[in-house]
Symmetry: C2
């Protein structure tokens, strides 16, 4: 089976066309079957392609002039869904002209446009943004939602758990990934009503193809003993950015410490391969590519400040989700739970 | 002026009496004017004092048998306020028998007991838990609330900002500390209604002895360009623990990297002073001691797993707050804003 092609919003992100095209080219050097629909300014895309002859026969260009601004309100961007590079990349997925879309543009606009064009799956009220994060264990773990939904009720959280578990089964190859809800303590009484309701529902449910193991605190998510961390978009965004910031903070401190004396400078030079390994492991570009789960189609968000290697990772994530039929797997998970049971849980309101 | 004595709940925490007494003794070796009321099992306290002759003349023992359990519900602990070491330490502050209390026990119980015994200041609806955190800048920064209030409205957040600024003025010696609200983006439209309301009120207020600078994202709190980060207790707890967990994660990765080859092991040994410096900087014991702001009295929470050096830091934080009259300073800040204006803001409900 040949892989459906990937629509790339070539205009989004801090660096724009050059980084997006270089990133796609880099991904393609590792996987020759990748094909692309590059959406954006034709002249600039063609110029960028000059440096990447391997991309030319694998790419078609869909020209447009209009770009969604980084600070633009999603409601405003929605009006230009049919003229912007972001909107046209998503539309290609809707029309079946591409299997998935990747964009480094405005997250809120990407979410709004994707939801409107692709619609949520039956049984899902709201899509969630999910990313792979490094752990000390064997596999990466999945955290969701990372900012698509500022406020969530128990029903949303249960749906996120099901979607996250489906994604984790692809990543970890485990039949029943370990799932936990992010909370400020592990005792039953901790946290909001929404968290407690969601925990009760997940504990009671059977046949979900996951091991639900209760709550997890934010200092324990990277130890490798949890595969899926479920949270509302506000807390998830805070936790993700706090981790990124702390990693950078420690890196900066380390640099300062190493530069604090001649002796430690020498030590640093000698142990450079070790610190380079650490840097590689912590570089957000190596974990780039968050996916909107719960849509009838795959849309991947690449970080606005990602470099070409980062974009290549986001493209690789996209290809993997296509290959492994993520969308169908989530549908199967939802069917397992039974849509009617999902509807039943509706009564529990937003607890925070 | 002699410093009022500090009531120490000698029974709380994972290690109990020995660590609490050793910690107090360590703090006293650095500041000879410290005096203590040690609350708990007399026999065990006396035994612990055998190792610390410098503590004996500086301490009085208040005997009790009863201890609040680590997992005990706050409502249950409240009933034993008059018999437990935690309750009696707080009661000593209420009676004026001590100037402040320190405990390593159950946070929820400590909060509930402190609030009931000491009451909140006029103009403050809820106390908040505030801690000093390391930054890349000159000073530590203050973050609050760290878990005392799971859900907060705009009015709570405004009060937290005023209390945090008062604490920061003591720590940084700056007349107008830079204050920001923790959010998932810096644009005006980001976050909950409560955050947007609080931002509008802080922007509009004058004479607050702070520079309110809008929102901050969780990856930028440690850069040294913000002195006070204000948030609800749920997000604050998530952010704090995410930072702690990430720092530990990076430390573990670094250790693994250094041990990955003979070359990097040698590099590690040579640069040891540098990595030790880093470890010291990141050790949570060196930042131990979170204070409940907004009470008519000083109550400091020491981490349950703190070692003697950590307890000593919590005692030092307590003494500093006493010396610098934190309680009076917060009152002054509230008076500046005007209690009536605080009441006016009541209309804005819990936005999340």
């Amino acid at each position: 089976m040949s892989l459906p092609r990937i629509a790339v919003d070539a205009m989004g992100g801090d660096e724009g066309v050059r980084v997006m095209v270089s990133g796609a080219a880099l991904a393609r050097r590792r996987h020759e079957q990748f094909k692309f629909l590059l959406v954006g300014d034709e002249k600039r895309i063609k110029h960028a392609l000059d440096d990447h002859p391997n991309m030319r026969e694998a790419s078609e260009i869909l020209h447009c002039d209009d770009v969604v601004g980084g600070d633009e309100r999603p409601t405003q961007a929605l009006r230009r869904a049919k003229t912007t590079s972001m909107g046209l990349a998503i539309d290609a997925v809707k029309r079946g002209d591409a299997g998935a879309a990747v964009s480094s543009g405005n997250t809120g606009a990407l979410m709004a446009m994707s939801k409107l064009a692709l619609r949520t799956m039956p049984g899902i009220d709201r899509p969630a943004l999910a990313a792979l994060l490094p752990t000390l264990g064997e596999h990466d773990m999945i955290m969701l939602d990372l900012g698509a939904n500022t406020e969530c009720d128990a029903r949303n959280l249960v749906q996120f758990a099901i979607m996250g578990a489906a994604y984790s089964r692809i990543v970890t190859q485990q039949a029943e990934p370990r799932v936990r809800l992010l909370n400020i303590g592990t005792e039953d009484i901790k946290g909001t009503d929404a968290l407690q309701d969601a925990a009760a529902q997940l504990r009671a449910a059977t046949g979900l193809a996951m091991q639900f193991e209760g709550f997890v605190e934010a200092d324990k998510i990277s130890r490798g003993d949890v595969d899926v961390v479920v949270t509302d978009g506000f807390s998830g965004n805070i936790a993700l950015k706090a981790v990124e910031g702390a990693a950078r903070f420690v890196g900066d401190l380390l640099k300062r410490s190493f530069m604090s004396s001649l002796r430690s400078k020498i030590g640093f030079l000698i142990s450079r391969p070790a610190t380079d390994l650490l840097r590689t492991h912590l570089d957000p570009n190596n974990h780039n590519g968050a996916v909107f789960l719960g849509l009838n189609g795959v849309v991947v968000k690449s970080h606005g400040s990602a470099n070409a290697a980062g974009v290549a990772n986001a493209v690789a994530v996209t290809a993997r989700l296509l290959e492994d039929n993520l969308t169908q797997r989530i549908s199967a998970g939802l069917a397992e739970l039974g849509e009617e049971r999902l509807r039943e849980t509706h009564s529990s309101g937003a607890g925070k």
